[in-house]
Symmetry: C2
Amino acid sequence: MTVPAFERLKNRLAEVDDLTKAASLLFWDQRVMMPPAGSEARAESMATVSRLAQERFVAPDIEQLLEDLRSLEESSDYDSFEASLIRATRRDFEKASRVPPELVGEMRRASTLALSAWGPAKEESNFEAMRPHLETNLGLRHRYVECFDPADETYDVLLDDYEPHMKTAEVREIFDELKEELVPLVKEIGDAGEIADSFMTGEFDPGRQRDLGLEIVRRFGYTDDEWRLDQTSHPFMSSPGAGDIRLTSNFRPNDLTSLFATMHEFGHGVYEWGVDPALARTPLGSGVSLGLHESQSRTWENLVGRSRSFWRFFYPRLQETFAEQLGSIEEEAFYRAVNKVQPSLIRIDADEVTYNMHIILRFELEQELIEDRLALRDLPAAWNARMDDYLGVAVPDDARGVLQDMHWAGGSFGYFPTCALGNVISVQIWERAREELGDLDERFERGEFGELRDWLTEHLYRMGRKFTPQETIERVTGSRIDAKPYVRYLREKLAPQPA
Amino acid sequence: MTVPAFERLKNRLAEVDDLTKAASLLFWDQRVMMPPAGSEARAESMATVSRLAQERFVAPDIEQLLEDLRSLEESSDYDSFEASLIRATRRDFEKASRVPPELVGEMRRASTLALSAWGPAKEESNFEAMRPHLETNLGLRHRYVECFDPADETYDVLLDDYEPHMKTAEVREIFDELKEELVPLVKEIGDAGEIADSFMTGEFDPGRQRDLGLEIVRRFGYTDDEWRLDQTSHPFMSSPGAGDIRLTSNFRPNDLTSLFATMHEFGHGVYEWGVDPALARTPLGSGVSLGLHESQSRTWENLVGRSRSFWRFFYPRLQETFAEQLGSIEEEAFYRAVNKVQPSLIRIDADEVTYNMHIILRFELEQELIEDRLALRDLPAAWNARMDDYLGVAVPDDARGVLQDMHWAGGSFGYFPTCALGNVISVQIWERAREELGDLDERFERGEFGELRDWLTEHLYRMGRKFTPQETIERVTGSRIDAKPYVRYLREKLAPQPA
């Protein structure tokens, strides 16, 4: 008996997915567990596993199967598993077949080594130690771009890996709209006078922050059976297999930012967690784009985690835990402090408004780098100038400037804009959820988040990569990506109220 | 320019090694970090990575390269890197090419699932929950055995994977000699009256045990740059890459056995650590056999870690840490307690003498299982009967009986005898080291272990898999494997002294 073509395709894709998952464990382990001296060997095994994943995918038999399955695709419902799998795989194949597996392996080896160098370089605020690695990463991205037909803009090719089908010009348009709305909003807020928040810095035991973070995400849906939470200097989420969702957060002794990072990474995690189990071990079995992903991390971090109703529920627990620091601080004062809008140095600690300016800055610099309009040697100066320009902030050192994020070390050029797109999308989805679920605040005040999670699972997470990002957004919200709801939300929540 | 054949072989083998290392990380992570619900996905990625490692190794181009390199091998010095690599690879290839990659993948998938089931089954002392997994594992071993030419004994095929070139009959001969010597020794010791050791059970904070274990192995050579130490219910060592040595130990609140487990696993780790870095990413880059490996774990656990001179050095630190429990206990009384010979239930907690009987029991049962002389259904009863027979110990439940070890769940049939062989070999090497280094006790008393480690590295660890196990032993000790030094050592150290 011969195995039907569709089954054969599924089996071959499952194998590729297994390798991808192995690579993602190699990555997680490198960041969280690996002794430092293991980095060279790790770079080699990363390179080999990634190259093989590519080789096994871009293979003649898969090309043939995709050909043979055209009629099945066309005769199946657009929404069906079969049509979706063949359609998504065809696009993935079309892209992947342009890139030599050796280049994939080289990109992975270089970024693994660069990531190992990034930690110490950041600690010593030594951009020059990082520069050769960034040169290599960027050089490899140039070679990667050359694998594709010329695009409208070079940056399009990079962006497409994180936000499929999105063009740089579209992002620019959205970002221009954000800039236009947010720059005056920041000014208005600034003019209204400073919000007191000195109680937000002090001594906050990291172990207790971890316990509180766990207490929160357990309410959201975290279980010990399927999740874990670890410490890293740069928080991230990784899922090296179905039923295995890993969050990291940075539990720092002098502030409470880890709580928001933990909720943020939970948002990434719950998106992966909610994908239909039937899509596991296929290319459909994960979130559809970084923009959609970020929409969910920002939903749980900001729309939930910085809401008044959330803190109505959780502030007593926080106060109880850090009685000395917060015992005398009113809930409303705390709420205002965690929503304080103020230009600052570090992207991941930024408030909801200025956060977008951090992204726009990176988006612009990335384009200049990939188009050779900016040399890496001049990057720190360009960074610092633009921080002054957009946020009026003086950068004291590269650790708190150009070295703060791990993404460029990790070779992720084209990733950053998805963070601000995520903000925009998050509010579109949020408004839809509230329309269907009614008053969420009442439930949050009681510590109930299950209905929101279930709604998001049902309407968004389940779909995985069955549709394009734009189709996915339209299915959830009924409309295309649109900055207006987000800007309105920010104004309503954060603009100074007339006295 | 064409790449020389030897370089091509090295590159291909490096790729296979990268996959093997990735598989070893997947394994380590499963045991130490993975959330339980990740086990099915993990079984799949384990299976795929292992199968691909096999496929990429048993490939026509490698076969051809081995053919083409015959003249290089013959014209090179036997000890040279080139000749050793070709020789070892030829033997590995000859074995691996008999086994279909699908079977390798299946064995790995089944054992990964079985290992996930083993933890809960042991906790609930539920052999029946484990039995279907063991049936599968054993069935796959039968298929594995059938891949090879008929051997003198079926068990030879399994044994060869852990102790290359060794025959079951040779092991039996050594074990018969051990039995003959050790059974009367156990009786003599028993007749001499019981050694007081009630202070060895009590409350010993696990965190402090971990700190003490680290303090010890740091003296031996552990550094944070290259090593890590974690908690697992079954201690093991894994090295998922050069410069990355991972130990686990079981820090239990009611006894001090974790200290010995930590030293034991350090012995495995330091063997991997000491392999010549030039052999990394080749099939020569690890310890040569499980017997040699176990010789080193037992060296650091017993020959060092249960010596009088070691405790002369370390007992004050232990006493200081656990003042309440050990403050009034003399060093000599403690030394005698950690060397108390008494039949007991758990292999890894057993004393140096009775340990071997635990192994002989497993060695015999494994042969009966693989030769279909014993059904898995009857295994617990057979286990318990033999525990009574060899050690006079009544097994209260399967958790402390047949389910205590993870090896059969992990599919490792044929592994256990190497543990007792390791004991035998350890003393042969130890005697050689003492001949060359002179009085080690004096250095141990001062907390100095570097010379021993360096000698072992220079004379044993460096070689990796360049030579066969027997050649390796002969190079270190000048003689073949021989039980006499071991028996003599046990008698001298542990037999009751005439009053």
